[in-house]
Symmetry: C2
DNA sequence: GTCAAATCTCTTGTATACAAGAAGAATGAA
DNA sequence: TTCATTCTTCTTGTATACAAGAGATTTGAC
């Protein structure tokens, strides 16, 4: 296997971070984690660097790596950017999407709805993620697709807590259908606008997110 | 001083990359660079990781770090995203910009024009960069500002070669004024549209960029 | 008792040593 | 000659050793 220890360590720590195993501002102890994972400090430090690059931790010179949870304001800001990136993807996808891609998108929408009907949330999240990734690809701009996927990944834990909000899923499904329809009509502006609304945090969803965030924050501190 | 060797190495290699000191696909030799800089492989490897995070090199497992110049298509894609990010900043800035920020922006515009009048291109690039960074800040979305600044930095060498195109600078100045005017009127849509056009690669500028790119590419290969 | 300075410990940053995989050279067979 | 296989060498990945800075603690003066 060509997998490096540093990469697996990175993923494991990443997982630990997004599942809230560390409190905000907490310092990641190199030696403790090293012996916990049964490796030396070297791959751990590499993992820290990668985590810092994706913004999950901050590295302070000669002080170490510190967990950096986004505060609520930053979270809203990130969703704001995500909404625009997705709108951008949708706008371009409406003109550039291929038949094959439309078929794939339709399939994920169906799979999403099936998952909801069966109450299989994990499957739902997976399919929903696929739906969005297909859209990024369909934009025809590979750089945009990568950037969108990057932010999407970073927002994963927060999107998850947001979608739990009551009644959100059926609404989300309607939006998926609307996005599909806009793409089918090659209506760039409609696709962009629908996607922007689909992702943006506003109205009731703002309150839902805030409530979830507070709950999470209170769990962290005590 | 709290500066780490790894950071300075990173900057130096980054500089070497953007000034075209490496050909596309070239492998960065750890040991050679290490002795060249008079350091061990450790900080070099850290620098490689950081460079990979910002996309200047790609790390292949057990093969090393390879220079990754964007091809022309990717370059256009990046400018496309940059244009939208700046438009996004402008849209928000039109509503949120403070008096102080407007003053600062006006100053940089003046400084830009003065620099052009004196033929001081380095000064022009500096002030132009400040202008855009002020706009990012003025968006009121700190995350957006960071992301915009990041992409802006990555596009730096290509923007530079593009602006050399004849007659581009006066036009660029007029656009700066137009952006300022849109902000003053709190006209979000106008600010966004003007910025999008200001940054986007289209029409003649597309050809200019392509020509410069080809020139650069030919320099690289021989 | 409080504040400041020096010391001490603990952690990170860097260098080096060692392990293991990948590319290339040499050898052999067809 | 050409292809495949083995072996050698070179490079990266990981571990460990060492250096040096940051923070805590203790000691001393007031």
């Amino acid at each position: 296997m060509g997998t490096r220890i540093a990469d697996t360590i990175r993923e494991r720590i990443e997982q630990m971070i997004v599942t809230g195993e560390f409190t905000d501002g907490e310092r990641l102890d190199e030696v403790k984690l090293a012996e916990q994972f049964g490796v030396s400090r070297t791959p751990l430090r590499e993992a820290f660097q990668a985590l810092a690059a994706s913004g999950l931790v901050t590295l302070e010179a000669r002080r170490g790596a510190f967990i950096r949870h986004p505060d609520f304001v930053e979270l809203v800001e990130m969703f704001e950017v995500m909404a625009e990136l997705e709108a951008m993807c949708g706008f371009r996808a409406a003109r550039r999407v291929t038949e094959q891609q439309m078929t794939d998108i339709a399939l994920t929408i169906d799979a999403c709805e099936a998952a909801i009907a069966q109450g299989d949330f994990d499957e739902y999240y997976r399919e929903n993620e696929t739906f969005h990734h297909l859209l990024y690809e369909a934009s025809g701009n590979r750089f945009l697709a990568r950037e969108a996927a990057r932010l999407h990944k970073r927002l994963k834990p927060y999107r998850r807590m947001q979608l739990r909000a009551h009644g959100r899923m059926p609404q989300s499904m309607r939006e998926h259908r609307a996005i599909y329809a806009a793409l089918e009509c090659s209506d760039s502006k409609d696709a962009a606008a629908t996607l922007r609304l689909h992702v943006a945090i506003q109205g009731e969803r703002f309150n839902d997110l805030m409530a979830s965030y507070r709950q999470m924050a209170s769990l962290k501190t005590g």
